[in-house]
């Protein structure tokens, strides 16, 4: 089974919407790769524009955010923009329905953790790397700061969503089954 995880980036806000993840003006693109430089281009954190070209962002494979991530438009471009930037897991307290479904439909992970677990991740010191094992339902967050202990949280995936990830996405799944 595919492995999920990598260096994490923290987006400290609730209600990050898909217009912020990829603005509508890029929806004329027909190739996913064209979305790459524009990921999170209009994101505001604490009222300030987010630097989507920072080194941490370039390296990130995991995004950690607060509640109601991916609200707003149905554009799957938001998921593709993450995908082409090498991000394969988004961890949040909760997701908007369409975004969450789009993630699993593309065979990548949207993981929900409890509010205090998300808070514990945000409170970690050092540079954080996240590993996700979907067969045991375990998320591990390790730091390069030796004083920071590794954190482990179990999570549950909807069984159907897990099947979609295993099948490589909903189209492949539906093609065989319906």
């Amino acid at each position: 089974m595919k492995t999920f995880g990598g260096p994490a980036i923290f987006l400290d806000r609730d209600d990050i919407n898909t217009d912020e993840i990829i603005p509508a003006k890029y929806l004329t693109e027909i190739s996913k790769m064209a979305l790459k430089p524009h990921l999170l281009e209009d994101l505001l954190l604490a009222g300030k524009p987010f630097d989507n070209q920072s080194e941490a962002m370039q390296k990130a494979q995991v995004v950690i955010a607060r509640a109601n991530f991916g609200c707003g438009s149905s554009r799957e471009h938001a998921v593709w923009a993450f995908e082409v930037n090498g991000i394969n897991v988004v961890v949040a307290q909760s997701f908007a329905r369409i975004f969450r479904q789009n993630m699993f439909n593309c065979g990548i992970l949207a993981i929900e953790l409890a509010q205090e677990e998300i808070a514990a991740l945000f409170a970690m010191t050092g540079r954080i790397t996240v590993r996700v094992d979907i067969s045991e339902g375990m998320l591990r967050a390790a730091s390069d700061d030796p004083r920071q202990a590794e954190l482990r949280f179990s999570f549950s995936l909807n069984l159907f969503d897990r099947d979609l990830v295993s099948a490589g996405g909903w189209l492949e799944f539906a093609d065989k089954k319906y």
Partner: protein
């Protein structure tokens, strides 16, 4: 235990239950537009799956950027046209016949009580106004819908919002839904269907019900839904008159798509609108809503009247009541976009377009236009627009712009004064 409308629709369309939480439904209609569909078409082609499950159940339109604004949007249109032709999709609406999807498709009678409807567009929830289950989906769900005629959902939890009281002068369904989103927040209906009800709902037109359901997604809702009744039947009558002896028979038949009296809701709210003033958003989230009286005097650069939320004839009539014999304030740009060609024609015949033009508005062809900041009214950095649309997200109408969501009355009042203004002064 009784069932909700959504549970009845799910039960009658159930194809498969891959787990106890998930349901795969047969679809009655798959709606398509040129922003999210071309990429689905190309992917299906690439995978050797370029088929459609039933061309009669697919309805397609070019509406978001039309006429095309550049080579890329022209290509999106071309991919749609070629695809519609290749698969003999008859209900395809191109230049001259096209309009904003969520206004156009209901106008054509495509959405009926009890239907299942998907589209690659989050405001598909609008169609719940007809007592259908209608949900926005991403491109992959759309591909599967086009190819196989199915879509998967988690079992529907429904929250009930009963509307009571009477709307004051100058207060509309738009103000009601903004007040609801303020109350339940942008997250308040996530993974839920909002079922509207109550005595006020029965008195609301289909246009008003569409405005309510349209913004269910702004509270995170999977869909909005209204029990289909006489108002629904009257609206649909030209399309269903061969199926029923008379209107009463249709109204009675529609009752099978009403929630049972002992149906279970995850939450029930009652909202009395009697004292509700006009509402307007502030900042970048649709639950950041204020009474308009608190926002008066905020200067605006642009006024936008249109969209799937408020671009119907009823909305244009409201705005025209205020604009009649008045002119736009100096330095303010007014843009009106009738949502469909029919709305345009009615507005023309009723003299409403003349009122807009005399006031100094630019009248655009039916399109999504400025609503999503892709064409026809994009804001410059630092500019402010009062808009009858549904999203005030940062950058929505152009990078660095601010959008204040409001009703057509409130937008028209701001056009006249150049600042956010309580429209009741003009009524």
């Amino acid at each position: 235990m009784g069932k909700t409308i959504a549970q009845k629709i799910f039960a009658s369309h159930l194809r498969d239950t891959p787990t106890s939480e998930n349901m795969v439904l047969d679809l009655d209609v798959v709606l398509c537009h040129e922003i999210t569909t071309p990429i689905a078409i190309l992917d299906l082609m690439e995978k050797g799956m370029d088929r459609v499950f039933d061309p009669g159940k697919i309805k397609a339109v070019i509406d978001h950027v039309t006429p095309a604004k550049d080579s890329k949007t022209a290509m999106q249109g071309k991919i749609m046209r070629d695809w519609a032709k290749r698969h003999a999709i008859v209900d395809f609406f191109d230049i001259g016949k096209n309009g904003v999807c969520h206004a156009l498709f209901p106008e054509k009678g495509y959405i009926r009580p009890g239907y299942t409807v998907i589209m690659g567009d989050s405001h598909t929830c609008t169609h719940g106004a007809f007592g259908a289950f209608a949900a926005g989906v991403g491109t992959t769900d759309l591909e599967v819908g086009i190819y196989k005629g199915v879509c998967s959902f988690r079992s529907p939890e429904t929250m009930k919002i009963s509307l009571t009281g009477k709307l004051g002068t100058g207060v509309t369904a738009k103000d009601v839904i903004l007040a609801i989103i303020k109350k339940i927040t942008v997250n308040g209906a996530t993974d839920r269907i909002i079922e509207f009800g109550g005595p006020l709902l029965e008195s609301l037109s289909m246009a008003a019900r569409m405005t309510l359901c349209n913004m269910a997604i702004e509270a995170g809702g999977t869909s909005g839904i209204c029990p289909p009744d006489r108002v629904t039947a009257e609206f649909l009558w030209p399309f269903i008159k061969d199926e029923y002896k008379n209107l009463d028979e249709a109204v009675n038949d529609f009752k099978k798509w009403h929630s049972d009296s002992d149906a279970e809701y995850v939450e029930s709210l009652e909202i009395d609108v009697t004292a509700l003033p006009p509402q307007v958003t502030v900042n970048f989230k649709p639950d950041q809503v204020r009474d308009i009286t608190e926002m008066e005097g905020t200067p605006v650069d642009q006024v936008y009247i249109g969209s799937c939320t408020n671009g119907r004839i009823e909305d244009l009539r409201d705005a025209a009541r205020i604009l009649k014999n008045r002119t736009i304030a100096a330095g303010v740009r007014g843009i009106v976009t009738p949502a469909t060609p029919l709305v345009y024609q009615m507005a023309l015949q009723e003299g409403i377009l003349a009122i807009f033009m005399d006031a100094g508005f630019c009248v655009l062809n039916p399109t999504c236009g400025a609503c999503l900041g892709m064409s026809s009214g994009v804001l410059a950095e630092g500019e402010v627009c009062i808009s009858t649309t549904n999203r005030n997200f940062n950058g929505r109408m152009g990078k660095g712009g601010m959008v204040h969501l409001a009703s057509p009355y409130s937008a028209a009042a701001a056009a006249v004064t150049g600042v956010i203004t309580d429209p009741r002064k003009f009524l």
